[in-house]
């Protein structure tokens, strides 16, 4: 599904990623771990073609991301769902509109939207929140809205950059259960995280990056001591 071949990305002097090669198969669930500034976000930005690699080849689904023209970026991104630590919901739109928005972009009809959005909201367990605005919801509920938006168009890949970073452990667990369910339906998931307990409990594939290099790629444990050397707090309160 996602293949990096000898990918290098530098920001001037700073190394983002250096000569990285990795392959993530369809249906995989992968945790991307490593200290702050290791290159995890760089990895994700490269997948989205938010930034361009200096060298190497990146393939996502049918697209060779390193070769496609800018004109094709929207098409490419529609096949990827994105979830962020800070939710990134539109504050002036209701929950329904926030999710519907991703379908409008695909030029889906109103009828399709009215049918599909409630389905996904109920899948996320927030069907009763459709008319609310994001700021009226708890952090966990907001992240559920963001996940609903990310999967509404049935993406092949779901990428989450610290999706539980702003959630308490209990709420984070609920979100992880949702992601696991989504993964069960065949969606490939790549999740950046600093949460040791989550990684240890889920027992999935773990790719560790340090200083732009992939230093570990196996199944199971988080492998770092919690809270050490990490810029972003692991369970910061909102």
């Amino acid at each position: 599904m996602i293949t990096f071949t000898n990918v290098t990305k530098k920001y001037g002097e700073n190394i983002g990623l250096e000569n990285a090669s990795v392959s993530i198969a369809k249906g995989d669930f992968v945790f991307l771990v490593g200290p702050s500034g290791a290159g995890k976000s760089t990895f994700i930005k490269l997948i989205l073609k938010e930034i361009n690699a200096d060298s190497g080849r990146i393939k996502v689904g049918d697209y060779v991301v390193t070769d496609i023209s800018n004109r094709l970026i929207p098409q490419h991104r529609r096949k990827i769902g994105m979830v962020f630590q800070d939710f990134r919901l539109l504050p002036k739109k209701t929950v329904f509109e926030n999710v519907a928005f991703a379908m409008e972009i695909m030029h889906k009809s109103r009828r399709q939207i009215r049918k599909r959005v409630p389905q996904v909201l109920s899948l996320m367990g927030i069907e009763d929140k459709a008319k609310r605005y994001p700021q009226e919801l708890s952090a966990g509920e907001q992240q559920r809205v963001a996940i609903a938006r990310a999967i509404i168009n049935n993406p092949k890949v779901l990428i989450a950059d610290e999706p539980t970073g702003n959630l308490d452990p209990e709420t984070a667990k609920g979100i992880m259960d949702l992601l696991d369910e989504i993964n069960q339906t065949g969606t490939t998931i790549v999740m950046v995280t600093h949460a040791k307990d989550i990684v240890d409990r889920m027992n999935k594939r773990v790719i560790a990056i340090e200083d732009g290099h992939i230093v570990r790629d196996d199944y199971g444990q988080y492998g770092y001591d919690e809270g050490l050397d990490f810029g972003e707090g692991v369970f910061t309160d909102v």
Partner: protein, 296 residues
């Protein structure tokens, strides 16, 4: 359809939210378009004047003094007839002259009706064979007793052509300059709303919105600014020009024997030109304002 409605609604909301800057830029662009409008009416009038007198390209007009008697007139005609290079000579009294003028002015001819007393003199129309002859006749006729003045249009046409050319070139330069300034004004105005919605735009891009989808509301916003500005400046140009025609139209007519083009006659052209310019400026301005934002 759904998108168009959405874009218009968003654009109007953005304009309202950012109304100080929007109003300022509408005024600035209106002012620039007003200058263009004045250039436009001036060149339209010069063109008309040139067209009218071109009809007399090979003619020297000899105007007679008010006091010149019929007998005296006859002898003047005779002496001109015998000049070298003259092909025909025709007397035209002041009433005929007025009729001819009226016919020539066509649609604007009615302006002459309000003239009261006929201000035109009796005249002799001298057709000449070539430019040299025209110059000679011109000089010689001027010296004859009883002749008030002469008019030879070739010179005037040449001069006017030069003036028109000069005006067109400077109009184009000024126009380009003003259009560029207007585009910058629009794009800076829209940039403010773009910044205000930066987060929303980046989310749209993550979800896979195309650039045109993101641009939609801002594009419409630019076009609305351009259209309002062009409406205002077209209206203002019309009113100002109408006043000018009212105030000096008659004088211009008697001095140049050519009318000012009536304001009503210009209105539709004015609206079409201004509206397309407004739309163009708004569209280009909005695209520029988002260029940096969208190419990532």
């Amino acid at each position: 359809m759904f998108r168009l409605f959405y874009n218009i609604k968003q654009a109007v909301l953005q304009l309202i939210r950012n109304k100080g800057m929007a109003v300022a830029s509408i005024f600035a662009i209106s002012a620039m378009m007003l200058i263009l409008g004045l250039f436009f009416v001036i060149s339209v009038n010069i063109n008309l004047f040139t067209e009218i007198i071109k009809q007399d390209y090979d003619t020297v007009e000899v105007y007679l003094e008010e006091a010149t008697t019929a007998a005296k007139t006859k002898s003047i005609i005779e002496s001109i007839k015998h000049m070298n290079g003259v092909s025909s000579v025709e007397f035209r009294n002041k009433d005929q002259a007025l009729k001819v003028l009226k016919r020539r002015w066509g649609e604007s001819g009615y302006l002459l009706d309000s003239l009261g007393e006929n201000p035109l003199p009796n005249s002799i129309l001298v057709k000449v064979e070539n430019l040299n002859a025209a110059n000679r006749v011109n000089v010689a006729a001027n010296k004859i007793d009883g002749v008030e003045s002469t008019k030879y249009y070739k010179e005037t046409v040449d001069k006017l052509t030069k003036v028109t050319n000069f005006l067109s070139i400077s109009a184009i330069i000024i126009m380009l300059f003003l259009i560029i300034v207007s585009v910058v004004v629009v794009s800076n105005t829209i940039k403010l709303t773009v910044f205000a919605r930066a987060k929303e735009i980046s989310i749209m891009k993550y979800v896979g919105a195309t650039n045109w989808f993101v641009r939609g509301p801002f594009f419409v916003e630019g076009i609305i600014i351009g259209l309002i500005a062009s409406g205002m400046s077209a209206g203002l140009t019309y009113v100002l020009y109408d006043r000018i025609v009212d105030a000096i139209g008659m004088k211009v007519m008697t001095i140049l024997s050519s009318p000012l083009v009536p304001a009503t006659y210009l209105a539709s052209n004015l609206i079409i030109i201004f509206a397309s310019m407004g739309v163009g400026i708004g569209a280009v301005g909005s695209i520029i304002s988002m260029r940096k934002f969208l190419d990532k």
